[in-house]
Amino acid sequence: MKFISKPNLEHWLGILAQERTLVAPVKATVGERPGSAAALPAGKQSCYAIVDGIDEISWGFQRTAMSAREFVFPKSECLFTIETDEQGRKTVRESIDPEERIIFGIRPCDARAIGVLDAVMLQEPADETYRQRRERTWLIGLACNQMWDDCFCTSVGGSPNSREDVDILLTEVEDGYAVDVITDKGQELLVQAVLDEKPDLVLPEPVLNEAFDVPPTDVWIDSFNDVYWERVGDRCLSCRACVYVCPTCRCFDVREETVARPDGTRVTRSIRSWDSCQGANYRMVAGGANPRSKPGQRTRNRFFCKFHYVPVTYDVDVACVGCGRCITACPVHIDISEVLQDMAQKEVV
């Protein structure tokens, strides 16, 4: 089994940070305020960010507050620019993101989430902007040696040390990390790393939370009109916290925003940004009708999208990876694991 010592890992990451763009978990001032409804324990007060050097990396992190989604699917990005010259003629230019990004320390759940985004965005016709950025992204996974209090990856078909969807998987062992090279892309990245062979290395079994049953498709369909969903929706504020911390959500808004220049020319940016199906007017149509005017209809839509709509429309089994961020972020403590368990037991209010 391949092994990399901590010093060798740091050295290798240092090279990657210099030569390319390295994204890693960093300590972030988020969820520090104990009064906040989203107060986070120390291990979760981190985010993925671009690092210039390894001293910025937060090694003791458990799960980041925001997922790594923003590095393959940015919170906002320019899709096109449209230049208007003095005569009013327009030219459209696609915005290409040439950056090569290596995301170090991505947890198996977050990597699996990128797999879900791939299934949606790369399905024909592929979203070209996403596809190009995804091709230029490497994922160095970091296995979890335990599940934390709101994690439930094992209940949705994942695991804390899953080898899926990453290019390399590191597992923390004594003095360093076991290195599992999974793809050619990962192999190519390791060229500058100093690896050892440790044939007797035994990987630790992660400490698991008790898994629960997720309802099958027919239960979802049968329950669609159940008053249970109205009740969940009652307390929902229709904010976007769950959607924005979620690693698999991908609804987006596109707008053209134009800025006039003093020389008489104009530049228009076609901007894509994250959007949320929880907004009151999200599903309103031009004439004013709105099939999801009630909060319960919208919260229902989110759960169904994760567990039914995306699985039947795209090539993926389930669109929730059990990271638990929405449980932490929801200001009114709507708990997806509670909803799933209620549904599985058909214990409806």
């Binding site: 009064g35 409804a37 940004s273």
Partner: protein
Amino acid sequence: MIEELRTKARELLTDGTVDCVIGYEIAPRGDVRPVFIYDPAEVDRLVFNSRCDHNLVTYLNRRNKPPKRGAPVPTTGIVVKPCDAKSIQVLLNEHQVDRDKVTIIGVACAGMVDATGAPETRCTHCLQRTPLLYDVLLGDPPESVDAADSFDDIEEFDALPPEERRAFWLRELNRCIRCYACRQACPGCFCDVCESERDDSLWIGIADDIPEKAFFHITRAFHLAGRCVECNACELVCPMGIPLSLLNRKIVEEIEHSMGGFRAGISDEPTPLVTKLTGEEEINEVHK
């Protein structure tokens, strides 16, 4: 007091005074969260303790505007602390809530505490132990309370040099993800289409850059001028831990100092920053 609360809720639901009682319950993981009780048999879910820090009045905005036109406005019982009751007063002053449709279950409050057990900062500024507005009052107000109505924290921050304050806000607001939890949790934010969500990006675009984020929060703070009751719901719900109370309370202080001591939600006067129409004005044009 909890027994009294449950008894009252059971009574209001059973005799049909209200369709629903909005209060607090303990969620399976142990956190306090809002609960909507429709069935008198479920009133035992209701609790009240020093972790009940949500301002439930935001739900009244939604209850008072049924999505289907012409549908009747439901009746609601709502558990309110003194700060929350001020929110109801603001909504009454702005004709957003029908007083006849709300039964206000006021609770005496010794202040809320955070997850570590320390008193919430906002409660250390609050001298109100019982709500000013209620149909029924539960619990005994504590004899004395360790609080002082002061803007010391605002003044301390104001004393910092401008560059430092600017750097602070740019850093803090940069963490904003525009999830709008602050806006949705605020009873004073009830616009059908928020200025920051207009399709035409007239005021704020959708880019995830600091100008947009800063402008959203500053605009929201200004739109709450003379209307913010300092319930701190915005800061409590922020998943990114942004100190929004500093911003909103700065404006509360400005209004108090410049508008003859005005504080929102204390009387039936709406914010002094609006023009009150008497109904006798001749309005020649309605701008769509």
